[in-house]
């Protein structure tokens, strides 16, 4: 089954990938492809855009229209693509640093516009590619190579951030909960407007080692045990939720989509002639 997917959607000559053994990014990439397959999208109509980082290497392996941009700018490039050709199913793959530090401004504005882009954030709680510096999602108190005494920054809740900014679909799952992630990516793509799916990944090489989280298997077990469904979480106290990861769909609403709105302007002007 998996090998069928590989033949159908991956660039065989670009594999094996460069991710470390035990990295969660491969599972997340597979989930996206599985979602595309489940939806039966035409490969030529899908455009996958990334920024820079370990996660952002994914499009190179995937046999679609692919674009590897500058650090943090994937959503801005993607906005140009989507507006220029709204028929394209534009999917952005981005790291937590890529999307919320350097690219934070593009993230909130893409959400605010409710432009039809599905963003999947591979959140490994660290800057992987540059070797383990803390990111805006590194839990407060955790260590990174630039937080040797423990990170004192408060960390972002990316789903709440995106929802507050205007995203019409937000959801979270983890590399352990891959089946849930597949469903969420499907729903994100089906949503006409801006969708954000936060996929918690594991980076045993940097985040794991720096914070004594054990090997990849240990880290995956942690994701399994920490994952609490949003419906269950509603009845839990903040103390009970302290070390948990709330997963599931947070919102899924309908609002006018940006490129549709712009097309309405064009139609109106051209109709007036």
């Amino acid at each position: 089954m998996s090998s069928e997917l590989i033949n159908k959607y991956f660039r065989m000559n670009k594999l094996p990938h460069i991710w470390c053994p035990g990295c969660g990014h491969g599972i997340l990439m597979h989930s996206i492809v599985k979602a595309i397959d489940n939806l039966g999208l035409n490969k030529d109509d899908v455009c996958i855009v990334s920024g820079i980082g370990c996660s952002s290497r994914a499009p190179g392996y995937m046999d679609f229209n692919t674009l590897h941009t500058t650090h943090g700018r994937a959503l801005a490039f993607a906005t140009g693509i989507k507006l220029a050709n709204p028929k394209l199913e534009v999917i952005v793959i981005s790291g937590d640093g890529d999307s919320s530090a350097i690219g934070g401004n593009h993230l909130i504005h893409a959400a605010r516009r409710n432009i039809g882009i599905t963003t999947v954030i591979f959140n490994n709680s660290i800057y992987g590619m540059t070797g383990g510096q803390y990111s805006p999602t590194t839990p407060t108190g955790d260590k990174g190579t630039t937080a040797p005494y423990g990170n004192i920054d408060n960390n972002f809740d990316l789903c709440r951030l995106a929802e507050a900014a205007g995203a019409t679909y937000t959801a979270r799952s983890t590399a352990y909960h891959a089946n849930m992630l597949i469903k969420q990516v499907e729903n994100g793509i089906k949503n006409k407007g801006f969708s954000l799916i936060e996929a918690i990944s594991v980076c045993p090489t940097y985040y794991g080692r720096k914070n004594k989280k054990g090997d990849s298997v240990k880290m995956m077990e942690y994701l399994r045990d920490a994952g609490i469904n949003v419906n269950k979480a509603k009845n839990m106290s903040s103390e009970e939720l302290a070390d948990k990861i709330v997963i599931g769909e947070f919102n899924n609403i309908s609002k006018p989509e940006y490129t549709d709105q712009y097309q309405n302007i064009i139609n109106r002007l051209q109709g007036e002639r």
Binding site: G60, N65, T79, G80, I81, L83, A84, K87, I266, Q270
Partner: protein
């Protein structure tokens, strides 16, 4: 046929030129003195089925411009001063990934937020070297409203033909002054479109040269080619490569596709240079003052002429060398501390190169240039 004559601004002529050249996408962030370019684009683009978007910042504006071009639309962004600095990283991306687009920079006094409403020609070097690494750059600079129209068309044509970003370097005077401007009929305007691949869906390589132009044909996303684009050094397939030879060959090709076409890219005017003993070099609005100064000096019997580059990058070394052979004194007048003058000096072996600059946010007057001519005599 009735002529389409209008009183318009440089910034407006820029948008009209862009539309005539086929612009169908604009993304940017407003900044004085370039704002009218965005405003008029937002008004006109949807009327022709094109798209305008005001992005959250200049970085996003440059990024979206590149994205739209990759999706097949002729795209432009406009900015000034600090905004131009913000665009530089993605401008380099467009060079490396060979994405045609036009970047308008209406220069204003700097550094930093500097003199936001005053004229300057302070971004000549930034236009060439603002991004990191070596790369080719095409930058054009008009002196009048009509020329702004013409050079904007040229900028799009060069971008499409050479598959590269092209900068249109305006100064505040040209951008904001109003002049009687005759817009040619669309049928009289040469419009060049990017070369497309020959339906070779399975064998298409986005960076493979297929003829003697050094410019690979360019597909758009969504046309069935499924190609990869990156800002990393890449091979003909578009995929990253760390191979030093591939990196070197790629950069050399990028340089050559511009340098090998100097004849076509060199746009300039020689004014009263035939018998000149002194040459003025000036561009943009300063060239207008220089022209008046030449006329005034001629009336006093001084043999002086003007060389006016409209192509500011690549540097018109051959034409400047000719000046060097012809005259003993070359006065370079520009609203900066000597950016173009240094380039002129670099190629002049015998002539004296004298810089006349102004950085107080005022334009250079004909009288000031005339005085400089008399000093040199």
């Amino acid at each position: 046929m009735s002529k389409n004559v209008k009183l318009m601004q440089g910034n407006e002529a820029c948008v009209e030129g862009a539309l005539a050249a086929g612009m169908r996408f604009y993304a940017g962030y407003p900044i004085t003195p370039s704002t009218e370019v965005a405003e008029l684009s937002s008004l006109k683009l949807p009327q022709v089925g094109g798209k305008f978007i005001q992005m959250e910042d200049e970085i996003g504006g440059m990024a979206a411009t590149i994205g739209a071009s990759l999706a097949g639309l002729k795209s432009m962004t406009a900015t000034s001063g600090p905004g131009f600095s913000l665009k530089q990283e993605n401008l380099g991306y467009a060079c490396m990934a060979e994405v045609p687009c036009v970047i308008v920079n209406v220069q204003r006094g700097g550094p930093s937020t500097g003199l936001p409403t005053s004229p300057s020609q302070g971004d000549v070097m930034q236009a060439k070297w603002g991004t990191h690494g070596d790369h080719p750059m095409i930058a054009l600079t008009p002196s009048s409203v009509k020329e702004t129209f013409d050079l904007t068309v040229k900028a799009f044509n060069f971008a499409e033909k050479f598959r590269t970003p092209v900068i249109l370097l305006l100064d505040e005077v040209v951008a904001h002054m109003r002049e009687r401007t005759e817009i040619p009929d669309q049928s009289e305007i040469e419009v060049i479109d990017r070369k497309k691949p020959q339906k070779d869906l399975d064998t298409y390589n986005p960076y493979k040269v297929v003829d003697d132009t050094l410019v690979p044909p360019m597909a758009a996303y969504g046309e069935g080619y499924r190609f990869h684009v990156t800002g990393l050094s890449h091979d003909v397939t578009g995929f990253p490569s760390n191979d030093g030879v591939i990196a070197k060959n790629l950069l050399n090709r990028l340089m050559d596709k511009v340098n090998d076409n100097m004849d076509e890219l060199s746009i300039y005017e020689n004014y009263k240079m035939e018998d000149a003993e002194i040459a003025i070099v000036a561009y943009g609005s300063t060239a207008r003052s220089a022209k008046s100064a030449v006329d005034a000096a001629r009336e006093e019997g001084i043999k002086v002429g003007l060389f006016r580059p409209m192509t500011i990058w690549p540097f018109l070394a051959n034409q400047v060398k000719e000046l060097d052979n012809k005259v003993n004194n070359i006065i370079v007048a520009e609203m900066n501390l000597g950016q173009y003058s240094l380039e002129v000096e670099r190629v002049c072996k015998s002539a004296n190169v004298i810089h006349y600059g102004k950085i107080n946010g005022e334009l250079i007057t004909p009288n000031e240039i005339l005085s400089k001519i008399k000093e040199v005599l």
